[in-house]
Symmetry: C2
Subunit: 461 residues, 2 copies
């Protein structure tokens, strides 16, 4: 939505300058509303509106709902109340509610009275749920069918409501209290005999989400059961909305961006985040808290090194293995953590599997540690001579001690990489909070402790 | 699909032992095929088949297509040729082709002759495209409509083919050479007057993918344009398949797992990868190449330290800042890289934006570097006294030198974090190859060079 096409800008400006209403109206019909929105978005707000206002309804609202939120708010800010009300009236209810939430308070207050009663209540209902829940992403634009209709009556009904509904491919069967009884697809209705009753054709076992359910869980249901839409019910089992397949794609993309940002310890509102639109200052605010905290934490590593200065002055070669110790520990730990976080997110494993996962990762860690110990051993034997060390210690004994320490560090880093996200999940926290930078810094501390202790013990310093 | 439900296993075993065909048949109808498949999958292959074989067709194939590939192959291996042919005949063509590709050669050869001609050719066509392209994920299960049909004739046609087609909600309008002319949705047909011609109702501007297009780009089109399905055409503009909305969800999930694994430098086939099903040995094989390579690369860091041993022996405090140098460099670089990789993947930025992105990240890096330099300065001033250093240097001059070096490292690490994925994208490589571990190790090397050089120059050693 943000890749701009600046090529049409001069043409559009000419049309606006010439006041060529017919050409502008035609332009708005040239392609998919998402494409038109993208092209219009290359213009500043006032000019964008000069194009958009020539589109007929409901196309105008459709194009508008595909624009970036910033531009939407800018346009709304420049319009008269009745124009805003008209524009919002034809927007998909979920997009409308999302936009409404982002409007400044005074704009909300000025727009609300201009809206029809039904729309006001719809906005109120849809904005009532907490961010990140199924309730907050659902739309109220769905079709219900009473069970006593015949298939052909149901099709007639769908035909009638089609222009106003986002999808007519699923009809939800509800009783007089709007409790969800089942659903039929338009395919079922078309294939059924004309006089069959909806109540007889319907699938009574409906996959659904509850309003308070996590939006990602709801999206994963759509994915798992290959649904076009997922009904959302409230505490009283009443149908209150649906989540559509295209929202599921957006939710999963958003959650993935969040996971990756958490993994890299980037704070802040993970929703907004279009890279280029975020100012350097906002980026700094999002990224600095963790970075500074971790830098302070890595001072602990510094103190560990400082308290072993005597050893370092004696065996200068130990200093030259510190980067390898930090890198391999951080790398093996982050790899393990990334795999575990992803497997937890996709529900491939659960916290009950912790022992089996630890057992598996112990083997992987052991394998890695043997390989890396060998690398370190070779390194000391070949290039160690040049370093300062007391004559009373043989090169081999130092090489053995360093490789053993490195091997231990790799195993422990791998296990920490498994344990931390699992532990976060046990505490019902998002496992991705165990960000890779945090893990790297922590594994650095444990690594240096392991390193100096192992070498002290093995060399008997 | 892999969260097992062991609760039903005893019940199922009883039914199998009692040979209760009716109850087993009923069990297979109890829920969504994906749920039934999940419950059956808790059984070993032979028992799973003992349940599944009681399901009627096409439900049997439907449940089967929701099972894990390993179990599918195990079951197929135990069946007679004709049973396999029957099972495959009713599978969704894309799932069937995917499974077929994974069968051992001798099984492929034994099954092929038992299939009908049309299915053989379908499999051959669908397996012909390279992994990761739109052609490799498309299905051949779509509806075409000639333009001269009336709306009501088209609906009749859809009704007739409905049982065999994955989706009847989109009909693709093709000419006699199967060139794509447009599409109509079932909604369009239902809303249109009965005698309108398909050619007049259809949308002539179709969003499509080409067979050789990247599967993620195709999935993103489905997301951007809120489509139920995306037609796929070949070099001659002939319609050869469609990608459905549920495949788009799977593609985006798979690509995300791949990106995260690449970011953590995990090699190997990124598709298979269910964590628990992958043996420790396979995990080791996927993860060790990069880890070992990076460990060798981090020996370069070791050599840099070793060649500055003299300086370290003189100023022991320098060693205690090496962990902080490595951590902050790695963290800031990885953060920047993760943001850039994600923004590139979501097409929020392109390689043409490199200068603007570098400018923005330079500001962010500068901000971070000022904060961290301050932390380092405080650290030296408060705790530096305890360290060995020549009396001819004041603590302040050392603190200034160390913080300057650290600040430079942060800015350079941030810029490297931007530059490397952008550079990979310029070379048409996946930006995620600039894995976080690789970046961390590289930034370590540049960091140590910056560190020792800056301090040498500032202190005039």
């Amino acid at each position: 939505m943000t890749v701009k096409n600046p090529l049409v800008v001069p043409e559009l400006r000419e049309l606006i300058a010439a006041g060529d209403a017919q050409a502008l109206q035609a332009f708005c019909k040239t392609g998919h509303p998402a494409v038109v929105a993208e092209m219009i978005s290359a213009l500043p707000g006032t000019e964008a509106w000069e194009v958009l206002r020539h589109a007929d309804f409901p196309l105008r609202s459709d194009i508008f709902s595909h624009m970036d939120e910033d531009l939407q708010i800018e346009i709304i800010g420049s319009l008269r109340r009745m124009e805003v009300a008209r524009l919002l009236a034809d927007m998909p209810p979920d997009d409308r509610a999302d936009l409404f939430k982002e409007l400044p308070d005074e704009m909300q207050e000025s727009v609300l009275p201009a809206l029809a009663q039904a729309e006001r209540e719809d906005i109120r209902r849809l904005t009532a749920y907490e961010e990140g829940t199924a309730g907050a992403v659902m739309t109220s634009d769905y079709v219900t069918l009473p069970p006593h209709l015949t298939a052909s009556q149901a099709i007639d009904h769908l035909r009638k409501v089609a222009p106003d509904k986002e999808t007519i491919y699923y009809g939800y069967v509800v009783d007089e209290k709007r409790k969800l009884q089942g659903f039929v697809s338009l395919k079922d209705l078309i294939v059924a005999r004309r006089e069959s009753k909806v109540g007889d054709i319907m699938h009574p076992e409906v996959i659904f989400a509850r309003v308070e359910e996590d939006q990602e869980d709801a999206a994963r249901k759509i994915q798992k059961y290959d649904l076009l839409a997922l009904p959302v019910i409230n505490g009283g089992d009443t149908l209150v909305g649906i989540i559509t397949h295209d929202d599921a794609l957006d939710i999963i993309t958003q959650e993935q961006t969040e996971d990756m940002e958490k993994l890299m310890a980037i704070a802040g509102s993970h929703e907004a985040g279009v890279y280029m639109k975020t100012s350097a200052w906002a980026h700094l605010k999002n990224r600095s808290p963790w970075i500074v905290m971790l830098a302070c934490l890595s001072m602990v590593s510094g103190f560990i090194v400082q308290s072993h200065e005597g050893m370092l002055l004696q065996f200068a070669i130990l200093a030259s293995f510190m980067p390898m110790l930090a890198d391999t520990g951080g790398n093996t730990g982050s790899q393990a953590a990334a795999l575990i976080i992803r497997a937890l997110a996709l529900k491939e494993i659960s916290t009950r599997d912790i022992l089996r996962v630890l057992a598996k990762e112990f083997q992987v860690g052991l394998g890695l540690s043997l390989m890396l110990a060998l690398v370190a051993f070779g390194r000391v034997m070949f290039f160690g001579e040049a370093s300062t060390m007391p004559e009373s210690y043989s090169l081999v004994s130092i090489a053995v001690a360093i490789s053993a320490a490195l091997g231990l560090q790799v195993v422990s880093a791998t296990l920490i990489g498994v344990f931390l996200p699992m532990f976060a999940a046990l505490l019902k926290k998002d496992p991705a909070v165990v960000a890779s930078p945090a893990l790297t810094t922590m594994v650095d501390i444990t690594g240096l402790l392991i390193y100096f202790t192992t070498i002290k013990l093995m060399l008997g310093i």
